[in-house]
């Protein structure tokens, strides 16, 4: 309990820092710490799968994205300071937000006892999915439609990011080209870390069917390794018009849809799996989904095309 209280105070402290810091870069650093502390809170709340996701995506990739943006926007910092709202508005906002927090806190104390839960139902049906991790069973079987639509959400976000490219560079390379310094420390470390990280990513994806982990967490690590390789200049980002890249991006949702539709014939419903093949089918979906998510996440970080394709 003492640990939890200390952790909660720390989380709130960095949250206040994130909101109150004058410097945006400092606020972003606060946010990364916030994500890591939240990951600890998730462990305390017996949600290791969420902890992994929070650390990898909520803090890691999001943090990287925000750090990059804040350094690029640093010069606008002083100009924006003049647009801050006056004390009256700030006070009104503080009162409103205080009321929201107080209301939510009251509701937390009011939640019914015993708490309603779907855990028994999730446990009762898990045998039909062939999986050992109930969270993966929810993501890939009970509520597979959410996961399927979410892969499409990611894809649409990427289409949205790409759509911001100037017309003359359409089909070209995302982001700036980083050049590898053959004697640089970064090149050396990246060459060492990338293969290791890919192994870790595959491992985390693979154990997801029985233990904490899964396609989102594994894919994030794979994405991070690709981003690292791009930033260290080991590889260049691929031009967005490449057919193989497009195939890689849609492979996950496409296979998901295809097996979902096959469910009509095999098990009588969309996204239903026949019991004896359930685990095989789920893994068959998860592999391309992991690769597609990894590619999408990495390209979301890389940004819209900035350099024209070679002609």
């Amino acid at each position: 309990m003492a640990f939890d209280s200390g952790l909660a105070v720390l989380v709130l402290g960095v949250a206040v820092w994130t909101i109150a810091a004058r410097d945006t870069f400092a606020a972003v650093v606060g946010f990364v710490a916030y994500g890591l502390l939240l990951a600890l809170a998730w462990v305390r709340l017996a949600a290791p799968d969420v902890a992994l996701t929070e650390a990898a995506i909520g803090s890691g990739v999001t943090g990287g994205l925000l750090i990059g943006a804040s350094t690029r926007l640093r010069r606008t910092e002083t100009a924006a300071a003049g647009e801050e709202p006056g004390p009256t508005l700030r006070l009104a906002a503080a009162v409103l937000c205080g009321l929201v927090s107080a209301g939510l806190a009251a509701i937390v104390l009011m939640l019914p006892e015993p708490a309603p839960t779907l855990a028994p139902q999730a446990a009762a049906n898990i045998a039909a999915t062939g999986l050992g991790n109930p969270v993966t069973a929810v993501l890939m079987a009970y509520r597979a439609i959410d996961t399927l639509l979410e892969t499409v959400v990611l894809l649409l976000a990427l289409v949205g990011v790409w759509s911001l490219a100037p017309d003359r560079v359409w089909g070209g390379f995302p982001g700036p080209r980083h050049h590898a310094d053959p004697d640089g420390v970064l090149t050396f470390i990246a060459q060492l870390l990338v293969p290791l990280g890919i192994l870790v990513g595959i491992h985390i994806f693979w154990v997801g069917s029985v233990a904490p982990g899964g396609e989102f967490q594994g894919a994030t690590i794979l994405a991070a390794m690709w981003i690292l390789a791009m930033m260290a200049g080991l590889v260049d980002a691929p031009p967005v018009s490449r057919r193989w890249l497009r195939l890689l991006l849609i492979a996950g949702p496409a296979v998901f849809f295809a097996i979902g539709l096959a469910g009509f014939a095999m098990a009588g419903a969309f996204l239903a799996y026949p019991v004896e093949y359930a685990k095989l089918l789920i893994v068959t979906i998860e592999i391309p989904v992991t690769l597609s998510i990894a590619a999408t996440l990495a390209l979301l970080v890389a940004g819209p095309p900035e350099r024209a394709p070679h002609r």
């Binding site: 209301g103 939510l104 009251a106 509701i107 009011m110 939640l111 019914p112 708490a115 309603p116 839960t117 779907l118 139902q121 999730a122 049906n125 079987a141 009970y142 509520r143 597979a144 439609i145 959410d146 639509l149 979410e150 499409v152 959400v153 894809l155 649409l156 976000a157 289409v159 949205g160 790409w162 759509s163 911001l164 490219a165 100037p166 017309d167 359409w170 089909g171 018009s241 057919r243 497009r246 195939l247 991006l249 849609i250 949702p253 496409a254 849809f257 539709l261 469910g263 009509f264 098990a267 009588g268 419903a269 969309f270 996204l271 239903a272 799996y273």
Partner: protein
């Protein structure tokens, strides 16, 4: 409400799978094929929407599907009632019309892939799939994903032509939409914490009027209002809708803002029909009334045609929310029997057709003139008579003049307001109609005036595109022949429970 999957339920799956698989195919095959894929899927999707409507009408019951054969609360249900069927049909007709119109604006490139056509055709299908997912979603979290799908499909449409001011508009739209989503999600979390399910049908049986339920519904409603751009959350809408290319504006103003309104109906009339609350409903009504007055007055002062139409959307969204104080009457029985409920839904549908037609007409005018300043419209009525006629037809529906869907909708709201003795809403409806008459007349007077010097059109406007615009405007007019009473189709599948006083 049936407690198992119904025959024909697979149609609901198709309504999502068809457009979304089109998105995937367009990305792989590239921008040269995106248009063709969309054109093939448009009639197919329309057929699915018609089949769903026919099935709902024939069985007089909800069409239901349990995805993966997992029953709620563990699994996710798709459900189509009469309201869903009507909205899906509206969406299908509009998407088809907008798609045909957009062929002239985003033609397939001959050689290399081009950015704008690829993005437009892909996102047109994505919006369609997302809307269908919203209209048939039976689970609050699945609906959250559907709303995000819609947001990510809609935001890039705003900045499709890459002008600087549209980037700012798109970013502001995105920030409002994200705030809306997170508030909605927070409400859903509280409901799950209290009742252990996210399924709308199960929730409506378990919910009771306590602080948790009220907090949840308030948070979700606030989030949806931000997404629907109801006053005072309307500031993002005009620059976004006016800055987008015309077919995209038609999608955004006609369809996308209707999705959060639709979900507000689900919340207020499906999840909590047994906990009527007049005060909260009055607040929604007051915001709606403010939207009507503010939106219309600001529309009157616009100098650019597309901004005028966008501010008129702000006003017309206000009418939608008048249905809440007028339809929620604990002592009167089922709210969906009332003329106000039907009027509100009809307003959403007829505004969709009318506003899409007006935005596309404005797009044609801007293409012909090279600008959309209202002061410079003189002579366009002679040059593009069909387009201006379509604009006028849409305007008739906005003003609420007969015969038009807008007339029937507003007449129903007006009747309800008078019958209820809530005469203040009647005043607002009438004032809104007069103001709409003002801004539509302002445009038409300019357009029909003779030009001081002969008008030279920058580019010829194809008759087929004008025909599409007129066809959509005529749909809005045809809705005017709907009888002035609660519609049977819209009531199919409404929860059949007594309303406690």
């Amino acid at each position: 409400m049936p407690n198992s999957a119904t025959a024909g339920g697979f149609l609901l799956v198709l309504a999502i799978v068809l457009p979304v698989s089109g998105v995937l195919l367009s990305l792989v095959l590239g921008g040269r094929h995106a248009e063709r894929i969309a054109l093939i899927l448009m009639p197919a999707g329309l057929a699915v929407a018609l089949a769903i409507a026919a099935a709902v009408w024939r069985t007089h019951n909800v069409l239901q599907y349990f995805v993966g054969n997992w029953n709620p609360p563990l699994g996710v249900a798709f459900r189509a009632d009469g309201l869903s069927a009507a909205m899906m049909l509206t969406a299908a007709l509009l998407i088809c019309g907008i798609g045909l119109f957009a062929r002239g604006q985003f033609p397939s490139p001959q050689q290399a892939e081009l950015r704008a056509p690829l993005v437009f055709w892909t996102l047109l299908l994505a919006v369609w799939g997302a809307l269908n997912a919203v209209f048939i979603g039976g689970d609050l979290f699945n609906l959250y994903v559907a709303l995000e799908l819609l947001t990510f499909a809609a935001v890039p449409l705003v900045s499709l032509d890459g002008r600087v001011e549209t980037l700012a508009a798109a970013l502001r739209y995105l920030l409002f939409a994200l705030l809306g989503s997170i508030l909605y999600l927070l409400g859903a979390v509280l409901l799950y914490g209290a009742y252990g399910t996210l399924d709308i049908a199960l929730l409506s049986g378990r919910i009771n009027a306590g602080p948790i339920a009220w907090a949840a519904i308030s948070l979700m409603t606030a989030g949806l209002l931000a997404k629907a751009a109801l006053y005072p959350f309307h500031l993002w809408l005009p620059p976004a809708h006016a800055g987008a290319p015309a077919p995209a504006s038609a999608i955004l103003s006609g369809l996308v803002v209707k999705a959060p309104f639709f979900l507000a109906i689900r919340l207020w009339f499906d999840i909590m029909p047994r906990m009527p609350e007049r005060t909260a409903a009055q607040v929604l009504g007051i915001l709606g009334a403010a939207a009507i007055l503010v939106g219309s007055v600001v529309a009157l002062r616009q100098v650019r045609l597309k901004l005028l139409i966008a501010y008129s959307t702000v006003a017309q969204i206000g009418y939608l929310f008048l249905m809440f104080p007028l339809a929620i009457k604990p002592e009167m029985g089922h709210p969906w029997n009332t003329t106000a409920w039907t009027g509100g839904v009809l307003q959403a549908i007829s505004h969709a057709f009318a506003k899409a037609a007006m935005f596309m007409a404005a797009g044609l005018i801007a293409e012909a003139l090279g600008h959309d300043r209202i002061a410079g419209l003189s002579g366009i009525g002679r040059a593009l008579p069909i387009t201006v006629f379509a604009f006028a037809l849409g305007g008739v529906s906005l003003m609420g003049l007969p015969p038009s869907g807008g007339f029937v909708a507003k007449a129903m709201l007006l009747t309800a307001a008078v019958a209820e003795g809530q005469w203040w809403w009647a005043l607002v409806i009438l004032a809104g109609g007069l103001l709409a008459g003002g801004y539509v007349f302002l445009v038409l007077a300019r357009a029909l005036a003779d030009a001081s010097q002969p008008l030279t059109l920058l580019s010829p406007i194809s008759p087929s595109r004008q025909a599409v615009v007129v066809a959509l405007a005529l749909c809005a007019v045809l809705l005017g022949f709907v009888p002035l009473r609660p519609l049977e189709l819209l009531q199919i599948g409404r929860p059949d429970i007594a309303i406690g006083g």
